[in-house]
Symmetry: D2
Subunit: 302 residues, 4 copies
């Protein structure tokens, strides 16, 4: 069993820390929100009082924060000197599970490397359900041996683990994956709307494309057309799931990443703007991202 630190106990980080505790690890946790702390304590974690304290005795230290500036602030501090990196116990491994821009991930990992500290970027997919059920997917950037050292802890929180490459590669892989997800979801919604506009049954068309060369994850497990698939957001008025606002945020990371290496991303760029228009036209920021289907449907003209 390991001694673990965990900072950031939100909808994702909270259940992840709880799963580590459930697997028998000693988990020192910190969060700014008392309620989140209380929940983690109830799940068997120990409240450490501060991020520094959560790190103090850790063999592996996890962070799960909203954005790149929080991650840079935590590890580097405001002036690059007063962050956690200056306080890492000998031999401890840092694992940032936040979804942030690859550039910040590389910068923080490089600062850690300068001090001889092993660090991984390990963003997740799978949503809050995956966090609670311990079935997350981790996309990991950093050294293989570091990943292997942390593997048992990943296993306690997730079902799939991918090594994407060096520092920052986990973030890049997630950014690429989610951009492609947005593209095929928008494309699927558009194809279904086209078929329906020509009189086809959306379920029949979905099944044909799923088994043919149009096949993709959206058609397989996350059909965006209402009434075609049970148990998905499309069949409960797009409540829950992966919110449009979060997809738009991830697409913003993809655009920033493309900017930094000059890569053309026309399909991803259009998908991002369709999501923006959908949010504006349909007040859809808090709906599941498969609700992009609505952008292709005629409004009634009453």
């Amino acid at each position: 069993m390991s001694r673990v630190g965990f900072v950031g106990l939100g909808n994702m980080g909270g259940p992840m820390a709880a799963n580590l505790a459930k697997a028998g690890h000693a988990v020192d946790v910190f969060d700014l929100m008392p309620a989140a702390l209380a929940k983690a304590e109830a799940a068997g974690c120990a409240s450490a009082g501060s991020a520094v304290n959560a790190l103090a005795n850790a063999e592996v230290f996890f962070s799960m924060l909203p954005a790149g500036r929080h991650v840079a602030g935590l590890y580097l501090g405001s002036d690059g000197q007063d962050g956690l990196l200056a306080q890492v116990p000998d031999g401890a491994i840092l694992v940032d599970c936040s979804t942030i821009d690859p550039a910040t991930a590389k910068r923080v990992a490089a600062a850690a490397a300068e001090r001889g500290i092993a660090m991984l970027d390990a963003p997740v997919s799978g949503g809050t359900a995956g966090a609670e059920n311990g079935t997350l997917t981790f996309m990991v950037g950093g050294a293989s041996e570091t990943l292997e050292a942390v593997r048992p802890l990943f296993d306690a929180m997730g079902a799939n683990l991918f090594h994407a490459g060096d520092a920052g590669a986990g973030q890049t892989a997630k950014v690429c994956n989610n951009m492609l997800l947005a593209v095929h979801m928008a494309g699927t919604a558009e194809a279904l709307a086209l078929g329906v506009s020509q009189g086809l049954d959306p379920a029949a068309l979905s099944e044909i494309m799923r088994q043919s060369s149009g096949g993709n994850w959206s058609l397989e497990v996350y059909n965006p057309y209402p009434g075609v698939m049970e148990g998905v957001p499309a069949s409960r008025e797009y409540q829950g799931g992966f919110l449009v606002d979060l997809m738009t945020k991830d697409l913003g990371l993809a655009m920033d990443t493309a900017e930094s290496s000059g890569a053309p991303v026309p399909m991803g760029g259009l998908a991002r703007n369709l999501y923006r228009m959908h949010a504006a036209q349909n007040n859809a920021g808090q709906l599941d991202f498969s609700s992009i289907q609505q952008l292709f449907e005629p409004k009634s003209s009453t």
Copy 2:
């Protein structure tokens, strides 16, 4: 066994007719090209001398032609009176396997229905290899009982059979599927190029996305990045496969179909124009459609 007529013996129609003959059916064939006729005769078909003759004794009559105007010309004639519809034997079923616009398919089927003739539109996917190996996929529009009557013949030529709906629905399903295919292929190529521009290995990134929510048919069996997957066009300089010019033609049908019902298809429309630009910039009309990967890669500046 059935008595079958077959008109249009090109790269697709020729092997399809041959598979019908191989399955023991009597196949009367016609094509304007003597070489195609000779090949069909060598495969056990009987040359009928004309389309009318190929139809004369048929229980089921197949056509496999390049475009909507050929199909309309064959069945309706130039003035709507002198086409094959006027010569159909009692009880014979017509099956058009051409990939054409749904509007023409509906128009011809409606003219057949007026004369009490049962007709199916049944475009295929699977390419010339699928036609030769008898593993095509058929997407069928028309009455269920007509489809069932023809099923044994479809089985002799293909591995998958989908009933998409009423007359024209087979064409619509194919148009929707291929538009979605173009979208996720372009999106996949773009995501891979983005990852590679950030230093990721294309094979590692492909595998991660394939198993994650970015998963789609391109990643599963038709990876567009050179060297990632064996036996696909990307690994033989995009020779063979499904040509850019054919994908562009199918996307043209998708745009026409969208026009006819006023459906917005922004992702499909952009994919179509990316394919056009790819053809123009890279002289790529005769390359496989996964070569769209090239449009996202920097040219060397030597």
Copy 3:
């Protein structure tokens, strides 16, 4: 003064014929709608009873019809033999002012040329107000000498006359112009919405861009933002003007034209799909095309 025939007396053709009569020409008219005929007679035209009769004594014969199929039907007939081309008086000039696809315009002009008949394609811009005030713009395809022969009649109906090139070139020029118009209108609306989202005053931003390198016709005379410019559709809730449905139709012609010569039109293609989405999301088909502004504005969430 000339003896003129005129077929197609709708919102555009009616006032055009009236202006010819007002200029002193003898105008024989025909339309299927009795009300349109009555109005033309009240304006000084003579009802000819049929298209053939309107042509019978004409030195110059004009047509103003909704789409390519009507133009082909009128001049070529259903079988290419029974159209007006067979009845053209010696030396008479044909002028089609309809906005149609360049391919049909070229086909009809070629059939005329085979019979030794001079023909122009001369689509107009300027809307119903331009038709009534005699201030239309004509974009003309065909021989220069034919254009010169008709010039006095064009002058009676319009303020601007451009010779675009050979047969069909008038249609192509109009298609290109209107595609560019859709692009800069959408781009202008988007730029204004971006500025406003950042707190800028739309009038100040409009004026800056109008005088800078962003300057275009939309900013000059047709500002899409409500309240910025007086007397434009944006300042009367987008009533009147050039309807979204008509712009969408013209963009459809542009897409068909691009298809026929394999030209990539990514910006025009996206503009077309934005217009489609606008029509669907905002039930905007009958609003002025500058209402695309609405597609970029957040809906209130009450």
Copy 4:
């Protein structure tokens, strides 16, 4: 006459400072490049030895730097404390002429305002020729009275002066304008390529659209088609002018700005990606931005 400080003497800043000196103002300058300093001294400026010294006696202080991080670094310092803001003489006005993201401009101006310092953001357009000839356009954000106080200095460097609004509005206006410029330039290139693919003469089509509703700045003074207009980059193989790499940078600012207020910018986003693809396909980063024309032209296939 005023006492002026000027920091950043590159291709733009150098001639701007020189024009201030030529107009009789006392100009204290600083740049990291000795050659740039020497040139400014030759033009009548006084080398101040440091940015702080250039500011020390200034009534108005100008900066002209490459990007937002340089501007923030100059005025705020690395920790927000050690920047120039702490050294501004009583009553001196700060004017940042750099083209940067509006968010940074607002942040720096807010920090200045906290200290009671008046500041303007005043990005320019007009290129190096405009800087040398004193014909720049300034788009200014900040208080009207501050703008009026600086007006004589702006007049010494430029021909046009626009007040866009409050702090940051100058940057926002420039971002909006340049995004719209990219859109209508790409749209113009695409429309010309479509016309040419149909046999039209690019000069004739340009003239028709220029005088019609397609009219825009590109057609008016900066035609992208080779051979149509004299003296523009298109007629000298796209050498000189406003580089693709700079347009791409400005479009990156536009995307960041859109991100910050959630505005949908589909046309601008596509234009940005077309420019990226053009740079990649045609190695065009150092060509004038009107070279986007090349992206729409078929390559010869020899």
